[in-house]
Assembly symmetry: C2
Homo-oligomer: 255 residues x 2
């Protein structure tokens, strides 16, 4: 048995792998990723009824990996996400990963190799953080956003500001003016999709595209990405675990 851990800015994801089956767990990162990860590891060991010694290798990735002293190896996020995405969607050619505080585009070549990538972890716009700031301004939970707008029934309200800070003021102004909140939410989804689409614009093509990361749970963003990119965007129920899956697969190779 091996484990892969993706210590992201918003959630820590854990994957167990025994060469055949995988198990999945995640928890909010909070202030202490190390503590959160250890608790989740304990829970996973109990659920699978194995002991700590049965874990022959733990591979970690993600922003918070430097804070986890019990890892056997660490691997970059790009390598893990690519590996995980190629496992979830064999033949994938482009991976779009939108996490809590960053967004990545990875062009995948034959045998699941990284051909090229782009990454934004400097600007909150086009990341999960943009959505959580806006959810707060609207008095909603970020997990509600995807279903709130209710598909294509309401045309999206254009959001002019690209910057998270300025867009937040714009949204507050729109609420004040009585603009339909569903239209605002739909406009915000398109804002994120437009920004991410611009980031990955140089990776054109029409091969399989997998959407991963925590934000891939938001179906409205997937649809907005399809509109912006004019190509099908797939998700997998385990898309949020792509990085941890990749880490677990790399751990498996080590033993």
């Amino acid at each position: 048995m091996v484990a892969g851990i993706d210590a992201g800015s918003t959630a820590v994801k854990l994957v167990f792998f025994d060469g055949q089956q995988m198990g999945f767990w995640q928890r909010p990162t909070g202030w202490s990723p190390a503590e959160v990860t250890l608790q989740m590891l304990g829970q996973a060991l109990r659920e699978w009824n194995i002991s700590r010694e049965d874990l022959r290798h733990i591979c970690g990735t993600g922003y918070g990996r430097v804070n986890l002293p019990f890892l056997n190896t660490t691997v970059t996020e790009i390598a893990c996400h690519c590996r995980g995405a190629a496992c979830l969607r064999p033949g994938v050619e482009l991976v779009i990963d939108i996490g809590g505080q960053d967004a990545k585009g990875i062009q995948v070549g034959p045998k699941g190799r990284v051909l090229d990538f782009v990454m934004n972890d400097k600007c909150a716009a086009g990341t999960g953080r943009f959505l959580s700031v806006m959810a707060h301004a609207l008095g909603l939970d970020v997990s509600e956003l995807g279903t709130y707008a209710g598909g294509d029934a309401v045309p999206p309200q254009p959001i002019n500001a690209m910057c998270t800070v300025f867009a937040e003021s714009e949204v507050i102004g729109l609420i004040h003016r009585g603009v339909d909140r569903k239209a605002i939410v739909s406009g915000l989804h398109h804002s994120v999709a437009r920004r991410v689409a611009a980031m990955v614009a140089r990776f054109d093509g029409d091969g399989p595209l997998l959407f991963t990361g925590g934000v891939s749970r938001n179906e409205a963003i997937r649809l907005a990405l399809e509109k912006e990119l004019k190509r099908p965007v797939e998700v997998n129920e385990h898309s949020p675990y792509a990085g941890a899956i990749g880490a677990a697969l790399i751990a498996w190779e080590k033993v």
Copy 2:
């Protein structure tokens, strides 16, 4: 008598000019720049004991100028700021204007002409907005920041995130860890100065540099700009009125 109005995102500035003397007023923009401007205009007319008909020309500039139906002419911000700065500091070669929601750099040539300029109004970092978000996180008023850090006594705490949203989280984390708030404020001033200095980097030279806009009231930012740019940075007590002064001078030419 003529008037110049600079309707900024944060404050509306009004300047009266009779060919010799100038009068200065300003008010927070709030939700209705037009109403705020009319009230301030009324106050100014009463203080100078003149009637509305005595104002032979009103020239407007700034982001909110489109909402002021009583203007006789409107002029771009760059032209007005350059004109106003050249009046406040004859021979000025570089103007750095940091306002509530934008920052500009204007290279000034002979006779106060605009040679070149750069502007950031897309990203809240490096603008007054960054400072007001941070003041809020620290429980301070933005007007207190400049004196709060108390000069060079406390070394600045480096702020790693450039993005306003990520820097706010970083600041909250630093407060949690008990880092000296004076050091944090000083670090934030340097963050703004670094970002603005990068923006105007291509305008090198060592001629007179005037710092204008609402943020020029913050003496700590002026000092931080001097450190980043390695050249003297001047301010004038009327620096926040540079745009409105330029508009008033242009109005004077029209009559």
